[in-house]
């Protein structure tokens, strides 16, 4: 079992794949970390020595924002826009697409599941 950057416990997989289970680390950063700490990406996480795991952990702590910190950073950025009262902030407040997409149709990712007539009171007998 390997605990890297808090709660993530990926095992059995290749190092470069397993690292991607951490929020904020994708294909590119995973590869980067592997080369930085000199571990072949083909190695499985279970075959890493404790020292190597420690090395990875230190590399991530040093050079990358991940997990909680990253989430907080993005949340702060969005909050800044909302407090500013600018157009992008208003769109965030209304939960509508921010970057000028159409909203007549689609935009379901932001709007959530379609509701027949929003806000209509259900008829109860």
């Amino acid at each position: 079992m390997a605990r890297i950057a808090g709660v993530n416990i990926p095992t059995q997989k290749r190092v470069n794949i397993a690292l991607q289970y951490i929020h904020g680390i994708g294909e590119k950063f995973a590869q980067e970390i592997c080369t930085k700490v000199n571990i072949p990406a083909e190695r499985r996480v279970s075959q890493l020595t404790d020292a190597e795991v420690l090395q990875i952990r230190e590399a991530i702590d040093r050079d990358y924002t991940v997990e909680g910190d990253l989430r907080r950073e993005t949340a702060m950025n969005i909050k800044r826009l909302m407090d500013l009262g600018c157009y992008r902030g208003l769109r965030h407040r209304r939960k509508l697409p921010v970057r000028g997409q159409r909203t007549r149709t689609n935009a379901r990712t932001r709007k959530g599941k379609a509701v027949a007539i929003a806000g209509k009171k259900k008829v109860t007998k």
Binding site: L84, G85, C86, R88, L90, I117, A118, G119, K120, K121
Partner: protein
């Protein structure tokens, strides 16, 4: 794609003059009416109040430090939002 750095921020020239004039006159709280929504908010505008035209009227916007780098138009929405009526409780919850 962002604007090239070597060009510097875009501002209509008269904006600078207007800002300077109000500062010199000492009436900082006065609303400066502007139509130039396309101008960037510069550091020297901080503390002033601008009336940004939204196509109908001038929306008062007092400039803070956070607004630097945004465009004036971003702070004066041109469309008025209206939703369908219906259950008042549901509408309130949406905000």
């Amino acid at each position: 794609m962002p604007r090239s750095v070597w060009k510097g921020p875009f501002v209509d020239g008269f904006m600078l003059k207007k800002a300077e004039k109000t500062r010199a006159s000492g009436r900082i709280n006065e609303v400066i009416k502007i139509w130039s929504r396309r101008s960037t908010v510069l550091p020297q505008f901080v503390g002033l109040t601008f009336g940004v035209y939204n196509g109908k009227k001038h929306v008062p916007v007092s400039i803070t430090e956070d607004m630097i780098g945004h465009k004036f138009g971003e702070f004066a929405p041109t469309r008025s939002f209206s939703s369908h009526g219906g259950d008042k409780k549901a509408v309130k919850a949406k905000g």
